[in-house]
Every structure is written in structure tokens, then in C-alpha cells.
Symmetry: C2
């Protein structure tokens, strides 16, 4: 999760997930790690980048909207989403976006 994802040339999709946490771990870290492991096995998954300070930001990259939809409907992920709403997150926002252009260094 900690390096810049080697995504293919655009277009592709980015799911920008920003969140603030509640106090305490409450099983969050283990599930977060498991969700990365599980996401990596999904069709259309291209990579993910993550950082947290006061705000947490995770951006996952996907080849198309159908892959994002399938991942959102994954049974184990659905359970994690439910616990996220009820326990782990004080607030969050999910933004689904189409990457049209990219450039970089290194």
C-alpha cells in the first residue's frame, strides 16, 4: 500500500476514500489489511495507495466501473463496510472518479 501504484495509461478509475476514525482500534487494522489482500484478488484491481494522519486517504485504482461495483458487493467486504459505518469511522466520503490523464517523476 505504501508505494505509488504502477497504473496503466488512462483511462481507468480511482476510488478516493477519505475518512476520520473513531477512538480505539476495535479490530480495524486487521480488517483493513485483509481488505487490501482481498481487493488485490479482485478482477480489474490495478493498485492502491494509502496514508493516514488526522485524515485517512486510501485511493484504489480499477480498470472499469463494473469491477468497482463487484468489489463493493463482495460478501466479506460488505461485512467490513457495515462495521465501518457502525464502529470504525466517525465520518467518510467515497468518490468514484475516472482518471483522464496522468504524469509523474521516478
Amino acid at each position: 500500500m505504501s508505494l505509488i501504484s504502477k497504473t496503466p495509461p488512462p483511462p481507468y478509475y480511482a476510488v478516493i476514500f477519505t475518512s476520520t476514525r473513531t477512538v480505539g482500534d476495535n479490530g480495524y487494522d486487521a480488517t483493513a489489511n485483509r481488505m487490501v489482500e482481498l481487493a488485490e484478488q479482485q478482477p480489474g484491481f490495478l493498485g492502491a495507495e494509502s496514508a493516514r494522519e488526522e485524515l485517512g486517504i486510501t485511493v484504489s485504482y480499477w480498470s472499469d466501473l463494473e469491477s468497482i461495483k463487484q468489489w463493493k458487493a463482495n460478501a466479506e467486504h460488505l461485512e467490513a463496510q457495515k462495521t465501518g459505518r457502525n464502529k470504525w469511522y466517525q465520518s467518510f466520503k467515497v468518490r468514484i472518479s475516472k482518471v483522464e490523464r496522468d504524469y509523474g517523476l521516478g
Copy 2:
């Protein structure tokens, strides 16, 4: 920078900037703070979110592509971009994306 941006209903644009830093501050923090201050004054700016661990992620939100183009061409920002390439960043990637859908909690 540390809270979830209150963006309007989609569509709008997200510039996803992910980076790894070189060692040492070298004036980075002061310029980063100044760039936020300056971005907030630009036409079309909707908000920005930022977090850094091993990887740094800053997502800025904009009303349209023209606003992003103008911000990239801002004289003081151009100088910062140059120093970023030469001194502050080991690697970075800029992804320009169109937010098509969003939802959240809180």
C-alpha cells in the same frame, strides 16, 4: 487540509497527487503550506485533503479542467513544482480525474 472536503454534487474534478519525499525538509513545509493558501484563492478550487506516512497523498478538488490548468500555470506554483522535481520529491504521480459519483457518512 485535515478534514473531509465539503464538495458540491458531482461532476467535479479531483487531482490525486501521490509522492515520496527525499530526506530533510529543505523548505518543503513552508512552501506546502503556502501552496494550500494560494490554491484556496484560485477560481474553481473546491477543497483539498492531505495525509502523509511513507507515502504522501494530497487530493485537491476543482470545478473544471480549466481551473486545474490555470492553477498548474500559476507563477508561484510553477516555481514550487520546479523545486519539487529537483529537490523535494523522490517520486510522484499526478492523476487528473473526473468525479462521477460520491456518497458518505457524517
